[in-house]
């Protein structure tokens, strides 16, 4: 049995406390009215800073002949519009920061759940010694889902403007969004979210329950039950995952669509989940709790990290290159925005999620060296946080992005919560399943 070390527990509480303070600070410092924004903008333009890049088609002011008065009036109107725009972005910023961290950690544990489901269905002989670790990580899923679902309801109640299609005012003036309102409307959207979250959590609940019952059983009926529900879950998952990615991420840019977006999101959180399994396994192993886990198990996890990292890159590039190549105006704006305004995070994510793992994890010996693996894991996890940041932020805060207090505090809060929930769950059951049909093979697995 694992005992939650008091040091780690304190650490998780500290993270949560700092995170909460930072999140609160982010909300308090967000501008409350438009005058505040106008003041800061005026101050910035005096200093000669162009902090807020705007993606507007250049208008040739000289083509029209305007009187001085008319020009002044126009300039004032533009300034006001700009201030209003920035005001909404800055108001969104703490919400978005929370949203990115919230969805990242929830999907990360969902990615682990999918990996676990695949291992069950594939009857993998190497992984049963890691099942309890995976179940521990997926214990975050119910907690994360609840917070996430509450957040979606708050969006629907207009506490924020993350999803602009939730604003009836916007829909009324936007034909493209209005045409999508059969799909993008609050009741349908929230019901879909409820069904998906309930489905995933139900699988997680019953799979865990059967796995524990299998320990005490004298036949393999619970194992077979788990096999069946895992297969059903994977079918449900791939449908729900695709729709989830449209609902929760793609609809932040409701004028844009991409067909492989679901897969792309999936690859991102799937590799994060596998990486998190590796991190937790390596941690527990270093504390002496996983005596049956050897370097071959770790090596296999590292191979999955490596392979799925490349898979993510493949999808990233396929999505980018197809749109870049055809350069259709209604699709390319998505990437124009990201390249011009989010240049460093956009290309930095590729370096962190592809270049770094591909060069580090290609070596067989490196895949067994703990510190290299931990370093690669941290880079991959941060890289996929940045990936979600890139997917979400441009649609909500646009040019007003910054990785500051709100963003870091949200990550710290969810990291603390994640550590607390996961390691509490790990104490609830022995770390080695007793009667899994493949447990002996798994104990002696070597590669």
């Amino acid at each position: 049995m694992y005992t939650f070390s008091s040091k780690l527990k304190t650490f998780s509480f500290i993270l949560m406390a700092i995170g909460l303070l930072g999140i609160g600070y982010g909300f308090l410092t967000a501008p409350k009215d438009i005058q505040e924004v106008e003041k800061t903008l005026a101050a910035q333009s005096k200093e000669g800073h162009v902090a807020h890049y705007e993606l507007t088609t250049p208008v040739d002011h000289h083509s029209e002949v305007l009187t001085k008065e008319q020009a002044e009036v126009k300039e004032q109107a533009e300034k006001k519009e700009h201030a209003e725009h920035v005001f909404h972005q800055l108001q969104n910023k703490p919400w978005s920061a929370f949203y990115v961290a919230c969805i990242f950690f929830m999907l990360l544990s969902l990615g682990t759940l999918v990996f676990y489901g695949i291992q069950q269905v594939a009857q993998a002989g190497w992984s049963p010694v890691l099942f309890r670790v995976m179940q521990g990580i997926t214990a975050y899923l119910p907690v994360g889902s609840v917070i996430f679902f509450i957040f979606l309801i708050l969006c629907g109640l207009h506490f924020n403007h993350l999803f602009i299609w939730l604003d009836p005012e916007v829909v009324a003036h936007d034909k493209i969004i209005a045409n999508k309102s059969g799909y993008l409307n609050f009741p349908f959207w929230i019901v879909r979210a409820a069904i998906f979250l309930a489905g995933w959590n139900a699988y997680r609940y019953f799979s865990r329950k059967n796995c524990l019952a299998q320990d005490e059983s004298d036949d393999n009926s619970f194992y077979k039950k788990n096999f069946n529900i895992s297969a059903m879950f994977l079918v449900f998952f791939i449908v729900s995952e695709s729709i989830m990615s449209w609902d929760w991420i793609m609809s932040l840019d409701p004028h844009w669509s991409s067909t492989l977006f679901g897969w792309y999101v999936f690859a991102s959180f799937f590799v994060s989940g596998i990486t998190m399994i590796t991190v937790v396994t390596v941690y527990l192993k270093s504390k002496g709790y996983l005596e049956n886990v050897n370097t071959s198990h770790i090596h296999d996890l590292a191979k999955f990290m490596f392979g799925i990292s490349i898979f993510w890159t493949y999808l990233w590039f396929s999505q980018f290159m197809l749109i870049w190549y055809a350069n259709i105006p209604e699709e390319i704006t998505y990437f124009v925005m990201r390249i011009q305004v989010y240049n460093l995070p956009f290309f930095g994510a590729v370096v962190m999620n592809f270049l770094f793992p591909v060069l580090i994890l290609i070596n067989t010996d490196f895949k067994r060296i703990t510190w290299i693996l931990v370093m690669a894991s941290i880079v991959i996890l941060l890289g996929h946080y940045v990936d979600f940041f890139n997917m979400i932020m441009p649609g909500t805060v646009g040019g007003s992005w910054f990785i500051g207090v709100s963003e870091i505090a949200s990550v710290l809060f969810f990291l603390g919560l994640f550590i607390f929930v996961v390691f509490s769950a790990l104490t609830k059951a022995p770390l080695l399943p007793k009667r899994n049909p493949y447990i002996e093979e798994s104990k002696h697995f070597h590669y």
């Binding site: 590039f317 870049w324 290609i362």
Partner: protein, 174 residues
């Protein structure tokens, strides 16, 4: 000095593995082992050095990547930078996404083919090469260990008979 060798023939890979370990423990030099299929762990038991083929492949891949990059840069950017469908051919990075499929394929092509050719050369395999099979049964269901004899013929024969060999032959090698 005679160049006699012992052929110890086995009919089971587990027995062969044991024999290899015993032979190594007794410090007899194993010249070669012939098996009809890969025996897992045999190279480790024999103490063979790990292969460096993967390192070669990585370097070949980098060569392929460089070649692909050079080719596209020279052809599309340096030599005749045309406007083809509005693609930006001002610098390599401007048009890079369009070149990535070629860069990727060249990498894989070079890595794969040069590695295979390296393998053929290092293991001396080519068409019309004369087979070096000491006993035809080793391609079907027998395992053969070849050990050099250094004036200790009788000792060696009895040693190998003790390791479970189905047949121990002393052969004059030319």
């Amino acid at each position: 000095m005679s160049n006699k060798v012992i052929y110890a023939i086995y009919n089971d890979d587990d027995i062969l593995m044991d024999a290899v370990k015993k032979t190594r423990a007794a410090h007899h030099h194993i010249e070669e082992v012939f098996t009809p299929f890969p025996v897992h762990g045999l190279d480790k038991a024999m103490g063979l050095a790990p292969t460096r083929l993967a390192i070669c492949a990585f370097i070949y891949g980098l060569c392929g990547l460089s070649f692909g990059t050079f080719l596209m840069d020279f052809v599309m950017i340096q030599d005749w930078p045309q406007d083809i469908g509005g693609k930006p051919s001002f610098s390599y990075i401007d048009n890079m996404p369009a070149f990535v499929p070629i860069m990727f394929e060249e990498t894989v092509f070079f890595a794969a083919h040069l590695m295979v050719i390296t393998f053929y050369m290092r293991s001396r395999l080519w068409p019309f090469k004369e087979a070096e099979n000491p006993d035809v049964r080793t391609t079907d269901d027998h395992f053969l260990m070849e050990v050099a004899v250094n004036n200790n013929e009788e000792e060696l024969v009895s040693f190998f008979e003790g390791t479970g060999a189905v047949e121990v032959k002393v052969i004059e090698k030319h």
